[in-house]
């Protein structure tokens, strides 16, 4: 009996929770089913992701899990995680690098160059603005004693299979924004031919097409300042160039330009484009490590400018000739030497209207100038020297039949040293002994310059 009661009690005890669970069981099974379904879904999703990742790995587009911090361990002898072997069976996986590297289509390549320098000279602020080079130009250096500079934004990218597009927008420390260059270049014309259009640095001469931050010295040379102005020949227009089918490099170029250059032409000199250039450049390698480049250029057109003499307006015609020579020896990345020289000759004739007088006088001036500069590079250091002068072989300044005299020949001597911490940082110290005032007084000029570049990797032009 006792056993029965115990058994009964046991059964009751057993059934009690069972009874209580009765309803619950069903809901639990349902819950389990739901969980299973959810897990099934998760597994399916994960499989999908795995499949996608496998695809990506095949295409090689999965970036390695190695963070940049681990890449170059600070403790140098840390074992780098072994890079994963990725199965790649496809021969052409279709990851072709674009013309400028990378594959960004949503953005053009962008770079920013900060060019800043501290400048000191014997000239006053007024002289720096207006002193000019007597007999050549009334435009001063345009610098300030103290801090100068600008930040230059560059954008470039292929437009489509037929054109590349470039724009350069410098913003001065005063906040002046300028569209220095904006042009297209063709890439699909028949072998050897190319067109360029928009606003661009003319291919006239050697130095002209170089951007300021790529110059070997902080400033431009005397003949450029005297005949083309500080900025050089940057014009709206169209350019045609052709590499001749010859066994050595020979480039022919011709341009039609608007003629806005304030020193040589002037915006209002004529209705429509009124400046034309032509040039021929040739180059050959003297050895595996040395190259010579020679060129002859001419630019001519109608002129109307107020930069000939103070308070006057000149109206007439101008032609400027240029001979260029560039030699470079570069046996290794540790050292190189370059020698560059140009000779320029300008002929100008027309009427000089003194703004105080009624009758204009006939002016003809034939003047020349040249510079020679050498730069020696040793590892991350570069040392440069430059000599530039005007009125070398001829200095005709004939106003109303009278040869004018503007004092002793303008010339300068420059020394430069720069230190390149990387490809993107340059620190430069430059000194100029300047004899261009026309009065025989010396001006000492010192520049301490810093150039930084960030963003897209700009190509090194030769």
């Amino acid at each position: 009996m006792q056993r029965r009661i115990i058994l009964f009690l046991c059964m009751f005890a057993f059934c009690l929770p069972g009874l209580a669970f009765g309803d619950d069981l069903e809901s639990r099974i349902r819950a389990m089913e739901e969980t299973l379904n959810r897990q099934q879904k998760t597994i399916e999703e994960q499989q999908k992701i795995i499949k996608e990742m496998q695809e990506q790995i095949k295409q090689g587009s999965v970036a390695e899990k190695q963070g940049p911090g681990e890449k170059q361990p600070i403790a140098p002898v840390a074992v780098a995680p072994p890079p994963e072997q990725k199965p790649g069976e496809d021969q052409k996986a279709g990851k072709v690098t674009g013309l400028f590297g990378g594959s960004a289509m949503s953005n053009p390549n962008i770079s920013l160059v900060l060019n800043t320098f501290a400048f000191g000279s014997n000239q006053t602020s007024d002289q720096l603005q207006n002193q000019g080079i007597p007999g050549y130009t009334t435009t001063g250096l345009g610098l300030k004693n103290g801090f100068n500079g600008d930040a230059e934004i560059s954008l470039f990218a292929p437009v489509d299979p037929y054109f590349n597009l470039y724009a350069t927008i410098p913003i001065s420390f005063n906040g002046e924004v300028e569209l220095e260059e904006a042009y297209f270049v063709t890439t699909a014309l028949p072998q050897g031919h190319q067109l360029k259009g928009g606003k661009f640095r003319s291919g006239f001469s050697r130095f002209n097409a170089q951007h300021e931050h790529a110059w070997d010295f902080t400033d431009t040379s005397l003949p450029y300042r005297a005949f083309l102005g500080e900025e050089g020949l940057i014009e709206p227009g169209a350019q045609y160039t052709y590499i001749l089918p010859l066994p050595f490099y020979t480039l022919f170029g011709a341009e039609i330009l608007q003629g806005q250059n304030p020193t040589l032409f002037g915006e209002d000199a004529a209705n429509g484009p009124h400046a034309f250039t032509g040039y021929l450049k040739t180059s050959f390698d003297l050895s595996d490590y040395s190259t010579m480049l020679l060129g002859v250029s001419v630019v001519g057109g109608k002129t109307q400018t107020d930069t000939v003499q103070p308070n006057s307006l000149f109206t007439g015609n101008s032609v400027l000739y240029d001979l260029e020579m560039y030699y470079k020896w570069k046996p290794s990345k540790y050292q190189s030497f370059s020698l560059q020289s140009e000779y320029m000759l300008r002929n100008q004739y027309g009427n000089l209207q003194d703004l105080g007088l009624d009758t204009p006088s006939y002016l003809e001036r034939t003047q020349d100038g040249f510079y020679v500069q050498g730069v020696y590079q040793w590892d991350r250091w570069r040392f440069g020297a430059r000599y530039d002068a005007l009125s070398i072989f001829t200095d005709t300044y004939n106003l109303a039949g009278q040869q004018q005299n503007f004092g002793p020949r303008p010339w300068r001597a420059t020394a430069m040293v720069d230190w390149n911490l990387s490809e993107f940082t340059r620190i430069r110290l430059q000194y100029i002994y300047d004899m261009t005032s026309g009065t025989g007084t010396t001006d000492n000029q010192v520049f301490l310059q810093l150039i930084f570049g960030i963003g897209a990797h700009a190509a090194h032009s030769f």
């Binding site: 890449k71 170059q72 361990p73 780098a80 052709y242 050595f248 190509a459 090194h460």
Partner: protein, 293 residues
Amino acid sequence: MKKTILTLIALFLWFTPAAAKLNVVATLPWIGSVTEAIGKDRINVTVLVKPSQDPHLIEAKPSMILASRNADLLIYNGLDLEIGYLPLLIESSRNPKIQPGHPGNLDCSQFIDVIERHQAVDRSMGDVHPLGNPHYHMSPTNMARIVRGITQTLSELDPANSAFYASNLKSFEDRLKEKQKQWSLIPVRGKRFVAYHKYFEYMAKEFGFELIGYVEEKPGIPPSAGYLERLVESMKRTKPDGILVTPYYGTREVEALSRMTGVKTIIVPHDVGSVPGATDWFSLMDSALQALK
């Protein structure tokens, strides 16, 4: 007058290639060498970079622009190794055939599995190649694929000679198989090296040696004194089998390091023509692996 015109015509004909041979421009010596192995006398190969030049720092010389102007095919390393001059060269070539997207523009890196791709890099880390390590040519696996790709492109551009190219590919591949057997016998597996630049990663992966440190603190930037001090200390501790350096760059630094640590300097030829024995890609690999032994 008549004579002058005739001379001019003759000159013009002389400089206009006789239409038959494909003009190939290769940026690096090894590319020129393997392309020549496939094209032999049916192609003209011009190599732009000398083995003694640092491939990272080349200028687009006018002679290089001229060669590119006349090219039917431009073959390059890719992964931004040539970023400093190739974009300018391609644009200045005024040659539609070698523009990106055309069959005459061949980027060899498309055939290989790139290692050391970086998701987030900036230039404070030195001259890092964000697209991945571009020094991939000292790997037989990569080379087998690249040579296939080059053969495919040559046949596409010059179908008349495709059988010739295919048979040259066959002999290249046979030789590669033969050579791989020889190379597998050279005892480099398991060795541990310190290297000057990240030049040997693909080779290490393939031949089973390890690179446990670098002399360059950051790629392309000379190491600081403090970094070198730490490197010397850890090398004294870990005792690697050698310091690897290419024949032209960093040998001075590596030799100094060698004196300080007692670890031997190993000069590894990095490209065809960089040492007298390395006359083609096979002999380049021979001498590189012998050096590591």
